[in-house]
């Protein structure tokens, strides 16, 4: 569904690239977490998928189409196939919940009757039935994010990109949001979520792609927020990537210091080799 082939993105010629020869494929119906520190390239990844920016080199394929070959007047069509959710919700404050979701359909010319039928249905999916006429400031953060998700999926996109959707929410609310995203994923939508939230990643046990300084340093299926594999144990790492449930590991309890230490000890080339090994 999304494929990056040797994608490099350079914003500033003098600095290091935001993305450095990324190779990555996310299949239809997959749920993938994009993790990594700020500045690791997560947002750049999402922007390239949306064709908000052009890759400096390499090719980005979305739904089988190289986005570099999409002419500017067809970009809206590309974006109709992609829903986006942000950390700050981005709702229209003077519009009701219903109107916020309906807005996404109005601007692409859906008829009033279709909107009347679809919006309540989608609001039900995200668990907001009965709150159609509230204004955003009358809702909790979690509810506002549900509205944003409803708006992102109301036109039935094949891909949902979420950029730290739980960044402003408490853990319990976050889990509720993850439930909604999971449900949307179950319905066949490919979900890519950039996040810092380790609890959520550990809870969900989905594919994890870790970026660091613009390079994929880890790509594991059903993984935790941080790698459970010591850098030396490459064979075991490949096994994990092949889909075996790593099970509850003691690493999960205090994962951060250990991994970062491991990463620090390994050279970047090693890390990249390891990452490519898992592809």
């Amino acid at each position: 569904m999304i494929r990056f082939e040797n994608v490099t993105k350079v914003y500033d010629q003098t600095a290091r690239p935001a993305l450095d020869s990324i190779n990555l494929e996310i299949d239809r119906g997959e749920f993938a977490f994009l993790v990594g520190a700020s500045g690791s390239g997560k947002s750049t990844f999402l922007r390239l998928v949306l064709k908000e920016d052009r890759a400096s080199s390499g090719a980005v394929y979305v739904a089988g189409q190289n986005v570099a070959n999409i002419s500017s007047w067809r970009v809206p069509r590309l974006r109709r196939g992609i829903g986006v959710v942000f950390q700050d919700f981005r709702l229209l404050p003077q519009k009701t919940v219903f109107a916020n979701v309906a807005f996404a359909m109005q601007v692409i010319g859906k008829s009033r009757s279709v909107i009347r039928d679809t919006v309540p249905e989608v609001l039900k999916t995200v668990g907001l039935e009965g709150k159609e006429n509230r204004l955003p400031h009358e809702l909790s953060g979690g509810e506002q994010q549900r509205v944003a998700i409803a708006r992102a999926v109301v036109n039935r996109p094949g891909i949902l990109l979420a950029d730290e959707p739980t960044g402003n929410l408490d853990p319990t609310t976050s889990m509720g949001i993850m439930g909604v995203l999971d449900k949307i994923n179950q319905n066949g939508t490919t979900v890519v979520m950039a996040t810092h939230d380790d609890d959520i990643v550990n809870e969900m046990r989905k594919r994890v792609v870790e970026l660091k300084n613009g390079v994929v340093i880890r790509d594991e299926a059903r993984a935790l927020y941080t790698s459970m594999i010591p850098v030396v144990g490459q064979s075991r790492r490949l096994k994990d990537a092949s889909g075996r449930d790593p099970g509850p590991e003691p690493v999960a309890a205090s994962p951060r210091s250990e991994t970062s230490a491991a990463l620090r000890s390994g050279t970047r080339a090693q890390a990249r080799a390891a990452a490519e090994g898992t592809l």
């Binding site: 949306l50 500017s72 007047w73 970009v75 809206p76 069509r77 590309l78 974006r79 109709r80 196939g81 992609i82 829903g83 986006v84 981005r90 229209l92 807005f103 996404a104 109005q106 601007v107 692409i108 010319g109 859906k110 008829s111 009033r112 708006r151 992102a152 036109n155």
Partner: protein
């Protein structure tokens, strides 16, 4: 649905930005009024030129019933006198200066008079026999007017020989200078209008950046996103152009029609209806102004 949506967006944009929209209306109104004033002056010049102005330089008016000139003591011009004059015009002595000449009978004169003074009440009180017949002469060299004048003034049956151009040219040069001034003022005002429209659109785009951001993300087409902004500018400019057209009409109706026409009954003035011919041009110019300046602004401030 999409049309209704775009219209709704335009409405809310205009409401949110009332003071800026009013200033755009006023600036386009003033600038287009100056453009229109220049246009009106040119129309007026054309009106005053009448039927013969561009075709001939000299008119030899023949005696008619009411003539009081010395040469007309014998009464209206006779057919014989007229034939003599024609022979004289065709004689080699005169013909070397003449490119071409035409005879305007009293009926022709009446017809042309009616055309030129169609807006004036004077038409009703004039009959063909009050107007002199004339020879209209196109000179090879307009400077040779004196020769024609000397030759014909003393001929029997000639009331007067007139160099029409000399009468009108000074007036026209004043009017042309006035229209040049009007066009220059209009030019400056148009620059103002373009900048003001650009600023208005920028403000409008900024105050609605949330909406446009979301529209972009959910895949609204460029037209749906940009059209409300462009049309906002265009609507304001069209209102300004309509006000300018109305002002010109009022000027023609009240100033020319009611005041100047009474002061100078022997001058042909343009009618208020003629100024309305300028309205489509003014509105078109307003749309062009607003459309281009908002398009250019949006290209910079509203990425799609």
């Amino acid at each position: 649905m999409r049309l209704a949506f775009v219209l709704g967006e335009i409405g809310s944009g205009l409401r949110r930005n009332v003071s800026m929209v009013v200033s755009v209306i006023l600036v386009t109104f003033v600038s287009l009024t100056f453009v229109g004033a220049a246009g009106m002056l040119q129309l007026q010049i054309n009106q005053m030129k009448g039927y013969w102005y561009d075709k001939v330089q000299v008119a030899i008016f023949l005696c008619s019933d009411g003539s009081t000139a010395a040469g007309c003591a014998t009464g209206p011009v006779t057919a014989e006198q007229q034939a003599n004059l024609r022979t004289l015009l065709e004689s080699p002595a005169v013909h070397q200066y003449v490119n071409d000449f035409a005879f305007e009978s009293q009926d022709d004169a009446y017809r042309h008079f009616k055309e030129q003074f169609s807006n004036s009440p004077i038409v009703e009180s004039v009959t063909p026999d009050q107007l002199p017949a004339s020879f209209r002469i196109n000179l090879k060299d307009p400077e040779k007017y004196q020769i024609i004048s000397e030759t014909f003034s003393s001929q029997a049956g000639v009331e007067s020989v007139i160099d029409q151009r000399q009468l009108l040219e000074r007036l026209f040069s004043v009017m042309n200078a006035a229209s040049l001034v009007a066009v220059s003022v209009a030019g400056v005002m148009i620059v103002c209008a373009i900048l003001l429209i650009a600023t208005t659109i920028r403000l409008s785009a900024f105050s609605r950046r949330r909406e446009t951001g979301i529209m972009r993300l959910v895949g609204a087409s460029k037209a749906v996103i940009q059209l409300p902004f462009i049309l906002e500018g265009v609507i304001a400019a069209v209102i300004g152009a309509a006000l300018a057209s109305g002002t010109l009409w009022a000027a023609a109706h009240f100033f020319l029609g009611e005041y100047l026409a009474k002061q100078y009954p022997d001058t042909a003035f343009i009618s208020p209806a003629q100024t309305l011919l300028l309205a489509p041009a003014l509105i078109g110019l307003g749309v062009l102004l607003a459309g281009t300046s908002s398009l250019l602004t949006l290209r910079r401030y509203l990425r799609v």
